[in-house]
Amino acid sequence: MSHTRPLGSALGLALALGLGCSGSTGSQVFSFHAAARGTDGAKGGAYVFSTPSGWSVSLTRATLRVGPVYVNHAVPISQGRATGGYSSGRTIAQVLAQVTVDALSPSPVPFASDGEGVADLAQTGEVWLLPDGGDDSTTILDVAGTATRAGVVVPFAGTLAIDASWLAPASAATPGESPLLAIRQVTDIPATFTTQPGGTLVLRVEPARWFDAVSDFASLSANGAGDGGAFRLGASGLASDATTVAIFRGLHAHQGVYRLEWQSP
């Protein structure tokens, strides 16, 4: 019938104009591979380096349990502005898994599962050092080596768990200043790359920087020696010896210890 012609013509024109499923709201969600690796500098099973306080350290064991990992940036997207504590769009990639990385090996160790993210410019990263489930005694760091300075040789070996013993006493005015989760997070890790589909997120761990703040390895002698004569790391959290506390803080240094890279396909 003649009266159907306008409808048909209009529909055709509409399709010609591209109405319908075309266009985008911007960005993209995708999965990616993720891995962690250690330093390139280890040779013959040992990594030898010097600390700012003049110690020569030969590190023979250095494993770190890391994960999850978040990559952050906030850019305007086609979405309503958030008003709560979480800034929508801040986190652009995440790896919701853990891996124990050998910090002395340059070989990437994949995380237990892939990450997911959106295509965007990364500016910072977060590495969380969480225990296994709710077990606060989970070993996060396991190190062994020998520190030498001016003829003083300090063999050391030990593990660190991150539990409530590392919490600083809270002030009455700011009781929420340092919750347990906060000391299990390393934040503000520099990252400068663009996440893209098909890429791989690589977390590089530089173990030498864990020891930057150690002034005197000899303080480990207060903890006694274990098998093989190596001095142990302290087990009393913030009440431990100065070296153990310095290594704990070294784990949380956001400059130099961790580096996030994006490897394009």
């Binding site: 009266h3 399709l15 985008s24 911007g26 086609s78 502005r81 504590g85 979480y86 995440q94 919701l96």
Partner: protein, 839 residues
């Protein structure tokens, strides 16, 4: 101008068979069981009567209609068109159905003699006189032929409906499509092109409406009204403009006027995507009792009453509803009551009094993450948080009166509404409860929004419409006003997960908002009968007086530990509240050019400027931006015609709109928030073919909506919506000489892949609803099914960040979420009619 008026007819009385030549022992006259109002011819002023004689078959169906006392001027056609759609209970002779011939006098009063309340789009006032008693008449078995008895005097007064303001101004008669399965009155909106309904908040939560590329959420971009009484909640903390239409009984909706755009000067606040005006009426006279039982423990009891001696606009209705819901935490209970009385004061004044009451308590499943559902951590119809849900109540009363003096029609309405609402929603799980240094150490306590608000609205509106001959043709001018004051108190807290124990307060405010508007609407024919310019201008002042009782929130520096609303800031002590007031004035021109009709075809183009007031939370002292502005433009072609006993309407419309301050859903706020300017372009097509035994409607809308700043698509809105609704009825067989009349109906819906944030697209939605019923004398049984194909579909789809603890570590990247569409449901209804109750 399509000036529609009616004869709302006096059912029973006019129509009875005339004396039979044979004298049966016992004869029962045919009785109208449904009728269609006539449309008052456009541009006429006559006060006249047309007598139509219809021939009925044994089923009571009109097989022939002829005008026996013609008047001309379009009145004859209008009366014939209406009479052909009447349905009667057949005449009986000795208990056996027989054919009959019936005289129906359609009395046309000039438009607005009875007076329509302003903004009662598409509404009808009608009064009638019934004979003191029915004359005993005979019916000749199977052969109509009695014409010698004149019916008693019947006076039926009609009023004009609002004239069309463009190709997207749709006057939707529900008609036979009432049989299509629907859950509530809001689903009647699907008869309008481009409407897609979603719901993330439960069965008692207002439907989320998408229209022509707008995500109108629960009504903030659509002006809803009921018999002229506004429905939108101004200042509702969940979203200003929230419109919950669940208090409307769908059986009492007579028609629906949907204007897709701000093209009529009568349209006010929130008419950004358009407006939807419900008009009430009950065709079935007497008492109707219905009980329905359905899947998922659904029970519905319904009583409707239309006093036989009163017009179809005098009625009462009450409903009690209960359902366990189709999944976890989806229970619903509600009660609804509505009543209206329509009467006359003298010959030229009519009045109408409407009262409504409604209360509901319901649960809500909320959203489900797609990855959790895929991994089996949660079921498709399950919930993370069983404390979601809400309560709502509403009581309202409206009184309107209209009269005619000479060439001028005056109308006046006053209304009052009291609303309460509590809403609990959790879109993000455990994400927003950051540890503040001044707070006691805590884990994530949960993001459940617990919102409570109370609103009172009082207002009035009125108009004066006059007509004069200029250039040899009739020109019209209407001047009107609207005034409303809304008082709103609102509080929003966050509750500890699973406990309903609040741990922080995000909003605690009270506000008084006023809107005074005036409009002029003219219909001008510049000397040519086939050109009409219609439109005018509307001016509004919006004023706000907001008192924020919690100005210094919990995380402000210097606040005390764990105390949300503080009396201290950087400068020391202060009272915890801040008061802000402002106002702004907006002029909104609107115009439509109509060319035609030519053989039923009319070309039309419209421009309109509309406005939506912003939420009170965005108000700052003396900042003159209390509204968002929309500019809309469209052009199209409309066809209206008939072929034998079939009527066909069709239209094709291209449209474009621009909104300067649009809104986009924010999962963290649980509602829409400001998101900058947007532009929409699209096309809409619609058609409806109706006869006495079938009704077919179909519509399609394609639209593209973009953010101006980035050119990116606006998320969540569907860019393709199709809908088809069908109903067919006929006699199936006879029992004891009385036919069993069957009705079959179907509703098909398709929604294209909606754009989601981060470049994603939703699934498509395709649903099939089917209904069937059989009526024998005063008994009816019906079976309906929605989502008959039992397709598992995602009604609402979202893409944002949440953390419902479904995984071992916090999830901080956007993920797909959905709200489940209902699986296949069945509803069995039994209805008994008592046509003489109250007669």
């Amino acid at each position: 101008m399509r000036l529609r008026a009616t004869t709302a007819l006096a059912f029973a009385l006019l129509a009875w068979p005339v004396a039979s030549r044979a004298q049966p022992a016992h004869v029962t006259a045919p009785d109208p069981i449904s009728h269609v109002d006539a449309v008052y011819p456009q541009g006429e002023e006559l006060d006249t009567t047309v007598i139509v004689t219809v021939t009925l078959d044994k089923a009571g169906k009109v097989t022939e209609a002829v005008v026996t006392e013609p008047v001309g001027h379009g009145f004859d056609e209008a009366a014939l068109s209406a009479a052909r759609q009447w349905v009667f209970r057949p005449a009986l002779r000795d208990g056996v159905a027989v054919g009959a011939r019936v005289h129906i006098p359609f009395h046309f009063s000039p438009p607005a003699v009875a007076g329509a309340p302003p903004h009662a789009h598409g509404d009808v006032h009608a009064t009638e006189k019934r004979p003191k008693k029915k004359p005993a008449t005979g019916a000749e078995g199977g052969i109509p032929g009695m014409e010698d008895a004149a019916p008693d005097e019947v006076t039926v007064s009609g009023v004009s409906r609002q004239a069309s303001h463009g190709p997207s101004d749709l006057e939707i008669q529900i008609g036979q499509l009432r049989a299509v399965p629907r859950k509530n009155a809001q689903e009647l909106l699907k008869l309008a092109p481009g409407v897609f309904l979603s719901n993330e908040g439960g069965e008692g939560h207002a439907e989320q409406v998408f229209l022509r590329g707008f995500d109108a959420r629960e009504g903030q971009d659509i002006e809803f009204s009921l018999n002229g009484m506004p429905i939108n909640d101004v200042g509702n903390p969940h979203g200003s403009g929230y419109a919950d239409t669940h208090f409307i009984l769908p059986e009492l909706v007579e028609s629906l006027r949907v204007t897709e755009g701000p093209y009529d000067p009568r349209q006010g606040n929130f008419a950004v995507a358009g407006s939807a005006a419900y008009a009430l009426g009950l065709a079935e006279r007497g008492l109707t009792a219905q009980y329905g039982y359905g899947t998922f423990g659904t029970h519905r009891a319904l009583l409707l009453w239309g006093p036989p001696k009163e017009s179809s606009h005098t009625f009462g209705g009450v409903e009690i509803y209960k359902s366990d819901g189709f999944g976890q935490n989806r229970r619903t209970e509600r009660g609804t009551a509505m009543a209206q009385y329509e009467g006359k004061l003298g010959q030229k004044t009519s009045f109408r009094l409407l009262g409504t009451a409604y209360a509901t308590h319901y649960g809500s499943a909320g959203v489900v993450r797609a990855d959790d559902q895929k991994a089996g951590r949660i079921g498709f119809y399950d919930t993370y948080d069983a404390t979601q849900g809400g309560d709502a109540s509403r009581a309202s009363v409206a009184f309107d009166v209209a009269s005619r003096t000479g060439q001028t029609t005056l109308a006046q309405q006053v209304f009052f509404t009291h609303r309460t609402m509590r809403l609990r929603e959790n879109f993000t799980g455990f994400l927003l409860d950051s540890q503040r240094i001044f707070q006691s150490p805590h884990d994530q306590r949960g993001d459940l929004i617990d919102l409570d608000t109370t609103m009172n609205t009082i207002g009035a509106r009125g108009s004066a419409r006059t007509k004069a001959d200029v250039f040899g043709v009739g020109q019209e001018l209407e001047l009107g006003y609207v005034a409303r004051v809304d008082g709103v108190t609102g509080m929003q807290q966050r509750d500890r997960f699973g406990t309903l124990v609040p741990y922080t307060k995000e909003l605690d405010s009270s506000a008084t908002m006023s809107n005074i508007g005036m409009f002029a609407d003219a219909s001008v024919k510049p000397g040519l009968d086939w050109i009409t310019v219609r439109g005018g201008v509307r001016g509004d002042i919006f004023s706000y007086d907001v008192d924020d009782h919690c100005t210094v929130p919990a995380d402000a520096r210097g606040s005390q530990i764990d105390q949300p609303c503080q009396s201290i800031d950087r400068s020391g002590y202060r009272e915890p509240n801040t008061r802000s007031s402002t106002s702004s004035i907006l002029a909104q021109p609107r115009a439509t050019l109509l060319v035609g009709p030519f053989s039923g075809l009319t070309l039309a183009a419209s421009y309109g400027l509309g406005a939506r007031t912003v939420d009170p939370v965005y108000i700052t002292q003396d900042t003159k931006t209390p509204f968002a502005r929309v500019d809309a433009l469209e052009g199209g072609i409309v066809y209206a015609g008939s072929l034998r006993d079939m009527r066909l309407g069709a239209r094709s419309v291209f449209f474009g709109t621009h909104v300067d301050k649009d809104l986009v859903f924010s999962e963290t706020s649980g509602r829409n928030v400001l998101a900058g300017g947007t532009t929409r372009t699209g096309w809409m097509g619609e058609g409806r073919l109706t006869s006495s035994w079938f009704d077919q409607a179909i519509n399609v809308t394609a639209v593209k909506a973009k953010l101006d700043a980035t050119g990116l698509l606006l998320p969540y809105v569907p860019d393709l919506v199709l809908r088809s609704e069908s109903a067919v009825s006929g006699d199936l067989f006879a029992i004891k000489g009385r036919d069993v009349r069957g009705t079959l109906s179907a509703g098909l819906g398709y929604v294209g892949r909606r754009a989601l944030p981060y470049g994603e697209r939703s699934d498509t939605i395709f649903t099939v609803d089917l209904g069937a019923s059989a009526r024998w004398t005063n008994y009816q049984i019906g079976l309906s099914s929605q989502n008959l194909l039992d397709r598992r579909y995602r009604l609402g789809e979202l893409n944002y960040v949440s953390d419902f603890h479904g995984q071992a570590y916090p999830t901080l990247v956007a993920a797909r979420h959905f709200t489940a569409g209902a699986p296949r449901t069945f509803m069995l209804t039994l209805t008994v009619f008592f046509p003489e109750v109250g007669g």
